[in-house]
């Protein structure tokens, strides 16, 4: 297992956000976490990347216990993240934001920069615009592009499709498949469960801080309970006007 999360508990002050979550991600997989608002998906990702301390439990990466390793060192070890809320450096230009992605790398990142520009031409157009003045979706592209620049072994994506236009959403999921094909492991958090399950190998369902279900993605896609709760009862029906 590349990433093993074992029975972690995490608190915000007195509030327990995670009450014993265990998740495993194998090298080369795309794993997705789905769940309602406030289920603890973001918290799980933040805990993996070292932004939240554990109350108990452990996180192992590549066989090593990293529960106490500071966040920046985890990045060096190969854990990259595109955070919820995008986390754009508002006063840095688009290029500088992207370069920050390569902060922890020793090798040349010029080629990757070109690739990101290819994926998101808008970013190339706006190279020198301050990150903070980009539109919501543009920022989302920037955040994903920047995460790609870290060249991680496992990439944590927190709702990458949020705020993106439909056309781009399709593209994002294509990109995820593509980078996975090239060897990057992905842990994906999505509200857009339908599409997430389509690109993922396996999935976990979180509810109020606990894992309530885990299975092959395709299995969940057809699980009636999951469909009802997370894929929208009338996922197809809702396309037309009226209920």
């Amino acid at each position: 297992m590349l990433l093993e999360i074992e029975d972690i508990h995490v608190h915000y002050g007195k509030i327990a956000a995670l009450k014993g979550v265990s998740v495993e991600v194998d090298e080369g997989e795309v794993v997705t976490l789905i769940g309602a608002n406030g289920a603890g998906k973001t918290t799980t990702l933040k805990t993996i990347s070292g932004l939240r301390p554990l109350t108990s439990g452990s996180i192992r990466f590549d066989g090593k216990d990293i529960s106490k390793v500071p966040g920046h060192r985890r990045v060096l070890m190969g854990i990259g993240q595109s955070p919820e809320g995008r986390g754009i450096f508002p006063g840095m230009t688009v290029v500088e934001n992207l370069q920050m992605g390569a902060y922890a790398r020793r090798d040349q990142a010029a080629k990757d920069l070109e690739e990101v520009y290819e994926l998101f031409p808008r970013l190339a157009e706006r190279k020198n615009q301050a990150g903070g003045t980009m539109s919501g979706g543009e920022q989302q592209m920037l955040a994903i592009g920047r995460a790609l620049m870290t060249k991680p072994r496992v990439l944590l994506l927190d709702e990458p499709s949020m705020g993106l236009a439909p056309k781009l959403i399709q593209q994002i999921f294509e990109i995820i498949t593509e980078i996975n094909r090239r060897g990057t492991t992905v842990l994906l958090v999505e509200q857009n469960a339908q599409q997430a399950l389509q690109v993922a190998h396996r999935a976990y369902v979180l509810e109020t801080g606990s894992v309530v279900k885990s299975a092959e993605a395709s299995e969940l896609l057809n699980d009636p309970q999951v469909r009802a709760a997370y894929l929208g009862g009338g996922a197809e029906a809702a396309a037309g006007p009226g209920d």
Binding site: I15, N37, S135, I169, A235, A238, D243
Partner: protein, 270 residues
């Protein structure tokens, strides 16, 4: 200018609530909105869609007085509101939510809504300091109204919680309740469904309808096509700050320009 013409939908009364006339908004070299004309009628749910960076949020910012348009006029309920102070715009009957939730994080949910309700209260310092009856009545009314609204948006059980501790979806609802508390005639919702799962989106859809049914006009930005197609009376599509299409949902769905610029595939294909 767009070549499409506005088709009044059957649900609207036909009287314009909000009119944007030749609005242009420039930021240095970036032209975020370019000569935009838009008319939203009273009582309709009007959706504004378009690719990322098309200028949708900027429209909201211009309407609510966050930005003063470089050119053009904003007319609301018959009078110009561009150049007015932001709080005056709100008092005048325009309220909004934000693309990135902006609650008063550390106040309780109820207090957040009460701040909205205060928009129409008059008590000044003296009234509050002396505890005049007028003031006490307003306080009571505000509280009652806030409670009702929280029930209305479906988060009555969260009343006393600190706003930032609410799950994201509830925060969005709370933002809506807060905006409703200012008693708007026109409600602007900026991607209210972002971060919600499909089930929650369906609930939201119902909520937006109920808001419209209380006699308010709703202007909505969303990227979720099933939601948009499900509830909008009319839709306008922006691209590069210009209106590339306007019309009924069914027309928009099949508009080739919209598909090329925005949808990628026809909306009902997903």
């Amino acid at each position: 200018m767009s070549e499409t013409t506005a088709v009044p939908a059957e649900k609207s009364t036909g009287t314009p609530a909000l009119e944007l006339r030749e609005i242009t908004m420039r930021f240095g070299g970036v032209v975020a909105i370019n000569g935009l004309n838009l008319t939203i009628n009273e009582g309709e749910i009007f959706a504004l869609i378009g690719p990322n960076g098309a200028g949708k949020t900027t429209v909201f910012n211009v309407v609510t007085g966050v930005y003063r348009p470089t050119e053009g006029q904003v007319v609301f309920a018959g009078s110009r509101i561009d150049g007015k102070k932001r709080f005056q715009v709100t008092k005048g009957g325009v309220a909004r939510t934000f693309q990135n939730v902006r609650l008063f994080h550390n106040m309780s949910a109820l207090e957040n809504v009460m701040v909205g309700a205060d928009a129409h209260h008059r008590t000044g310092l003296a009234g509050a300091a002396l505890g005049l009856p007028w003031h006490r009545r307003e306080e009571r009314d505000g509280r009652v109204k806030a409670r009702e609204l929280m029930e209305f948006v479906g988060i009555a059980h969260r009343m006393e919680e600190t706003a930032k501790n609410l799950p994201y979806g509830d925060q969005r609802r709370l933002e809506i309740a807060r905006a409703l508390a200012t008693d708007p005639k026109l409600l602007l919702l900026d991607e209210p469904a972002a971060g919600m799962n499909p089930t929650e989106k369906e609930d939201l859809q119902g909520l937006i309808r109920r808001i419209r049914d209380t006699g308010r006009t709703v202007l909505l930005i969303e990227h979720d096509m099933s939601l948009i197609m499900g509830i909008s009376d009319r839709i306008a599509v922006l691209d590069f700050g210009q209106k590339i299409a306007e019309g009924l949902p069914a027309e928009i769905q099949n508009n080739q320009r919209v598909i090329d610029a925005y949808l990628g595939v026809p909306a009902d294909a997903s």
